[in-house]
């Protein structure tokens, strides 16, 4: 009985694994194709396409599992201890903002708006940690730059996530019995 209910409410382990794999591949692609021509260190946040789509498709706790696994596995594969700290600080703040906004009744924001706020929240979380790490608040002076870059990357990621959501709803309709209404 218990397992039957779990089956109904959450996506299969296989689907979550597919999404986690998507997120990891996005991370690898991003490492290979740097996007930081204008501001070194700024990232496009391709993996966020998958996280954002997961928020719309899966229950929040399952989307959170995908995010945490993605941060952990990326850090083990490519990063240092510090990079886990940065990706978690930005990732969790961004996740919290996006889950809250995507879950609002009546969907006041489209995935693009949710993505923009998520990207800005991500950058804000990272600059907070960066300030603490170098021990100087003057790093905050770059917040305007990071807000603008968050808006730009947020729009791009939002458009991509919308595309992914359309595909997911078209090709795997049987998986999501009651897909959350979007757009």
């Amino acid at each position: 009985m218990q397992s039957k209910r779990a089956e109904k409410n959450s996506p299969s382990m296989a689907l979550m694994a597919v999404f986690l794999a998507y997120a990891l591949v996005m991370g690898i692609i991003e490492n290979r194709i740097p996007f930081d021509f204008f501001v070194p260190g700024v990232k496009l946040g391709l993996a966020n396409v998958v996280i954002l789509a997961s928020i719309y498709l899966f229950p929040a706790r399952d989307a959170l599992k995908i995010l945490l696994m993605k941060c952990l596995l990326t850090a083990i594969a490519t990063g240092t201890g510090f990079s886990l700290l940065y990706s978690l600080s930005g990732g969790l703040l961004s996740f919290l903002a996006m889950v809250t906004l995507a879950g609002l009744p009546g969907n006041p924001l489209s995935p693009i708006g949710v993505s923009v706020i998520g990207a800005v929240a991500h950058n804000f979380g990272q600059i907070l940690v960066a300030s603490a790490v170098v021990g100087a608040l003057s790093v905050m002076a770059y917040l305007p730059v990071l807000i603008v870059s968050g808006v730009v990357t947020g729009i791009l990621v939002g458009v991509a996530a919308k595309g992914l959501l359309h595909l997911a709803r078209r090709h795997a309709r049987h998986v999501w019995k009651k897909p959350r209404k979007i757009l």
Partner: protein, 130 residues
């Protein structure tokens, strides 16, 4: 993208624009007599302060991860070499004007310009680098 999305995007851009403009205007009133210096700190502790005028010279500092070479002189300061894996601090390039900074997060190092003239509106953006 609906109207509320556009409103949120516009709010963010307006906020960033106003902040940038205020910073720029605030800079004009300040005295320019002080000589520009590069202040180097690691984990919040100042390890060196160097005038940015004069010939370029290298300063070796010990970061949290390993050594870091900062080159200061000819009105600029930049990270010439770093022991960090990402090298974003090296790629961040030169800083010249007051208020600008380059950070190397793995090394917990921060180089910032104090005193001297402020940045122009069209000055290049430098970076927070991991």
């Amino acid at each position: 993208m609906n109207r509320r999305d556009i409103l949120i995007i516009a709010t963010f851009l307006l906020f960033a624009g106003v902040w940038g403009a205020v910073k720029l205007v605030a800079g004009f009133g300040d005295a320019r007599d002080a000589e520009a210096v590069a202040e180097i700190s690691v984990a919040g502790k100042i390890v060196d302060i160097l005038p940015m005028s004069g010939e370029e010279r290298d300063v070796s500092i010990v970061g949290a991860l390993g050594p870091l070479t900062v080159r200061v002189g000819s009105g600029t300061a930049y990270v010439a070499a770093s022991s960090c894996p990402s090298q974003d601090c090296v790629r961040a390039g030169k800083i010249t004007s007051r208020g600008q900074c380059v950070a190397c997060l793995p090394n917990r190092a921060l180089i910032r310009v104090k005193g001297g003239a402020t940045a122009n509106a069209n000055s290049e953006v430098d970076a927070i680098a991991e």
